[in-house]
């Protein structure tokens, strides 16, 4: 038999409703559109809806990147000055202060600004009532791709942090829908990955850095949708249609300054708390590993040994041992990737580190590195949450495995096509 399913029935029911109402309901003053109706006609338009969503997201990243830049430079100079307080790093203690704390932790602190401004822009979109419309527009697309409409909210939350986003999947009633949403959620770029993009895109793509970052986010969404589709098709336990989803759209409102600032501030607090704990810990470990045995050059430090050990794995993608170390520790928290560069390149100051990045990578490997960072592994805390929410080591392990494979594949494609285009 043909393609008869729940959708067909839903369609016919709405047709019946239309007929019933045509006969029993008269609307006075029909044709008078409210402003909200007019906005919805544009934002929810079948053709324009998704392009508008993409343009708004692109503008969001442009804004976050451009506005934060002067602030980043200022904070960086401040850390540069602090780091130089005790002169050249000749003793371990001075080196710890200037290379570990100011050069490592201080360097990653700078990225609080793009995060704050990104969430400022997202808060405006959310409070104005646009984001639920984006969810509605994406639902159409996602439903066709085998994701449940309610998945979009957790995916959207993933822009902030994948951990609460995965917990938010509890609102999805169907176990299969929920598992799929959990499995693909880490592909959504969380704010911890933003510093990596800002650093590398800034080093290679100049005025187009905002666009490059935006593309990482789009790539994340596209991969999430593709993988969801694949899992639905291929994994026996996950087959079936997603259940239909109805959502109510809140009215459009003028966002209040207070609520937007509050939103931005709460993100900043999350980041500061992370900086005071795991990023500080990461800085200490990395400083220690890169400075000891004391007096050895970087290549023969503990970090160097580790790096050379795992370098062969990522060598085909064009990453050197420092990139390997950065990715290794990035498993603890993605910001540590940037922190690692700060410490290993050991120069201090974003411009100099950007120059160092540009010296260690080509634009193609830089792009591949961004892609790899996007996909390769959820951070440790997220993985723990996945284990708790799925209650299964099997699915957790599966997630690690598929993401590593996918990261390697996509980054590989970037390297190959990039080199072809560049004529290398």
């Amino acid at each position: 038999m043909g393609e008869i399913d729940a959708d067909t029935f839903a369609d016919r029911r709405y047709r019946t409703i239309e007929e019933i109402l045509k006969a029993s309901l008269r609307v006075r003053g029909r044709g008078e559109l409210t402003i909200s109706d007019m906005l919805d006609r544009v934002f929810l338009n079948r053709v324009l809806g998704i392009p508008i969503f993409l343009i708004l997201m692109w503008a969001t990243f442009q804004f976050a990147f451009a506005v934060s830049e002067p602030f980043m430079v200022m904070l960086e100079r401040a850390f540069g000055w602090l780091g130089g307080l005790f002169g050249e790093a000749e003793t371990p203690l001075v080196s710890f202060w200037s290379d570990g704390i100011c050069g490592g932790l201080g360097f990653v602190m700078v990225f609080i600004f793009p995060i704050m401004f990104l969430f400022l822009a997202l808060a405006i979109l959310e409070d104005s009532g646009y984001l639920p419309r984006a969810a509605f527009v994406m639902d159409r697309l996602m439903y066709r791709c085998g994701l449940h409409g309610r998945s979009f909210i957790p995916l959207l939350m993933g822009f902030g942090c994948n951990l609460p986003a995965i917990m938010a999947t509890r609102t999805i009633g169907d176990e299969r829908d929920r598992l799929i949403t959990i499995l693909v959620n880490p592909l959504i770029s969380c704010s911890a990955r933003l510093p990596v993009y800002v650093l590398i895109a800034g080093a290679f793509f100049g005025a187009h850095a905002g666009t490059a970052i935006f593309l990482m986010y789009v790539l994340g969404i596209v991969l999430a949708i593709m993988m969801a589709l694949l899992f639905r098709r291929v994994i026996p336990g996950l087959k079936g249609r997603p259940s239909p989803f109805l959502m109510e759209l809140p009215p459009y409102r003028r966002p209040t300054g207070r609520s937007i600032l509050l939103h931005m501030w709460s993100r900043a607090v999350v980041f500061l708390r992370k900086a005071g704990t795991i990023l500080l810990g990461g800085a200490i470990i990395l400083w220690f590993m890169s400075s000891f045995p004391w007096g050895a050059d970087l290549g023969s430090s503990y970090a160097g040994m580790l790096g050379h050990l795992i370098e062969p794995i990522v060598r085909p993608l064009g990453f050197d041992w420092m990139g390997a170390v950065a990715l290794f520790f990035g498993f603890l928290a993605k910001e540590i990737v940037v922190e690692t560069f700060g410490i290993l390149y050991g120069v201090g100051g974003e411009d100099e580190i950007m120059a160092a990045v540009a010296g260690h990578m080509t634009p193609v490997t830089g792009l591949a590195f961004m892609v790899f960072t996007l996909i390769y592994l959820p951070c440790l805390a997220t993985l723990g949450t996945v284990r708790a929410e799925t209650g299964s080591w099997k699915w957790t392990g599966f997630m690690v495995l598929y993401q590593l494979l996918l990261a390697y594949t996509v980054a590989g494609i970037v390297v190959i096509t990039g080199n072809l285009v560049m004529g290398v």
């Binding site: 729940a6 067909t8 016919r12 079936g240």
Partner: protein
Amino acid sequence: MIIKVALIGNPNVGKTAIFNALTGSRQHVGNWPGVTVEKKEGRCTHRGAEMEVVDLPGIYSLTASSIDERIARNYIIKERPDVVVDIVDASNIERNLYLTLLLLELEANLIVALNMMDIAASKGYEFDTEKLSLLLGVPVIPTVATTHFGIRELKDAIIEAASGKNKRRKVTIGYGEDLETEIRRIEEMIMEDPHLSGTYPPRWLAIKILERDEEVIGILERYQKKDVLEVVGWEK
């Protein structure tokens, strides 16, 4: 005799307000068996008739995919309330009628409370309730729960419906010839099993099977209706 009444409707349609208007202070809150979803019950007396009112969860649809929807539909199938009052937000009528059609399919003894008539009127909606009632085949009572407008009429309608004096023609929502052929085919297979067709409305089962409803497919597996499952390509 106590009339068992179930209230059902989408979220945010004023269901709780209707519940309160019907039962006043005579209510208590418990849980649905086995789940932590709240179950509210209340009683009222009207024209000498005693009614027991159950507030079902606010839902948009009657699929098997969420706990709330399963509770609602299993209550209607298994407990067979004497009257089901579907509370409809008149100002969002299109979306709300979706659930109404599903309830008709479940062959519930239905009354539609067309609530929030004040808001609908402010949006310029003018209902021909008699016509609507005719098309749906069930009584339609306009209400404004917040001001208790129409509550007396609703209670009257409940008593009338419970007494079986509802003379309205039974309406079947048609799905078009292509789907109806399939529905009839499966319905006939279901009718062969008197116990199955006595427990569940056969047409509803047929539609749910075509919709690939997991719970219903489970029911057919229990009844070992292999022929039906084969029709929809369901193999174990």
